[in-house]
């Protein structure tokens, strides 16, 4: 009888933050001097396979984490703007992925390897510099944007 009261399930849908798929960390450098710079504002949009998704504006930052696609696509298109109506750079990030099971709540986590990025629209981003070419956590910078 009481069993009916206890028969509801456990917390199998909670995924603690930090256990999901790691995001790509980008940092910023000056095109002239090569030094690390802080951006007043940065707008990022990503195409997750069904058109651009605006990830919004962040201000006064020296790095930013950008989630990449977790489907079977071998690349993610990332769009960078310095102001809302300003010019937009398109960056195609190519990679291979590896999958690892994490937990019932988190399901499967993807890792990215062999990162290579191509700048297809060089304004406002002038140039790219590769960082750590695999994404296993969110500590190391994977890509430098030169403005």
């Amino acid at each position: 009888m009481l069993g009916t009261l206890f028969s509801c399930g456990g917390d199998d849908d909670i995924c603690e933050s930090g256990e999901g798929t790691p995001r790509m960390k980008v940092a910023f450098r000056s095109f002239q001097t090569g030094k690390t710079i802080t951006l007043d504002s940065l707008y990022v949009a990503v195409d997750y396979g069904s058109g651009k998704v605006q990830l919004g504006k962040l201000q006064k930052i020296d790095s930013r984490l950008i989630p990449l696609r977790v489907d079977d696509s071998p690349y993610t298109d990332v769009y960078i703007r310095l102001s809302d109506k300003g010019a937009e750079s398109k960056i195609r990030v190519n990679y291979t992925t590896k999958s690892t099971y994490v937990s019932p709540g988190c399901g499967i986590k993807k890792y990215y390897e062999n990162l290579t990025s191509a700048l297809t629209t060089p304004n406002p981003v002038q140039k790219l510099e590769e960082g750590q070419n695999q994404i296993e956590n969110e500590d190391k910078t994977n890509l430098y944007l030169l403005f």
Partner: protein, 219 residues
Amino acid sequence: MKTRLIFTFFFSLLGLLIFAQDAKEPKKEKWKYKPNFMVGLDALNAGASFFSDRKLYQGFISSKINDNVHAVVEAGFEKNIYQKNNYDAKASGPFLKLGAFYMLAKDAENEFNGFYVGGKAATSFYTQEYMAVPVRGFGGSNSSLAFPSSSQSSYWIEGMIGGRVQLFDSNFYIDVNLQPKYLVATSKQEDIQPMIVPGFGKSSSKFNMGFAWNIAYKF
């Protein structure tokens, strides 16, 4: 879901009624000790299978060993699906439980009436298929991976808290028990924690609570 709840509720009430009647009607019949068997089938879960994705059929055979100790063997079959939180999985297979229980309190006139506690070791050998295991991403970019059908096994221990009561003067009994379960070990496919295990239920956490509402016949 609602019909299932109502069905469960109906059985709960029925159980209460029968327990209540038992208190009022003193038993006249006396039981001699002899080699004995009681065979029961879980009517509640079998009935609930009509209204639910969880098809659970289970039964038991128990035998009184000495004054207060009964040995019990439980066997069953469960077929279940798990479609939640971007998972899509199914599992089905038989399970077997062996154990014993101790009569804590029993009717002076019928030693098979009473309340008991006990424990069982259980195992299930089953087939599972994970059509989708979610890959957590951002910005609506969730995807999933599929894994082929495979055979797995799980092992758990479960407690037994319940009561047994004779139906009037017949050889029929109603046996109701709760089964707190702890998953000790399970084989895994690609390290994936099984979300459902036949006989155990939802297995994303190691603890679970089961129940049985048996109609039993004493030979």
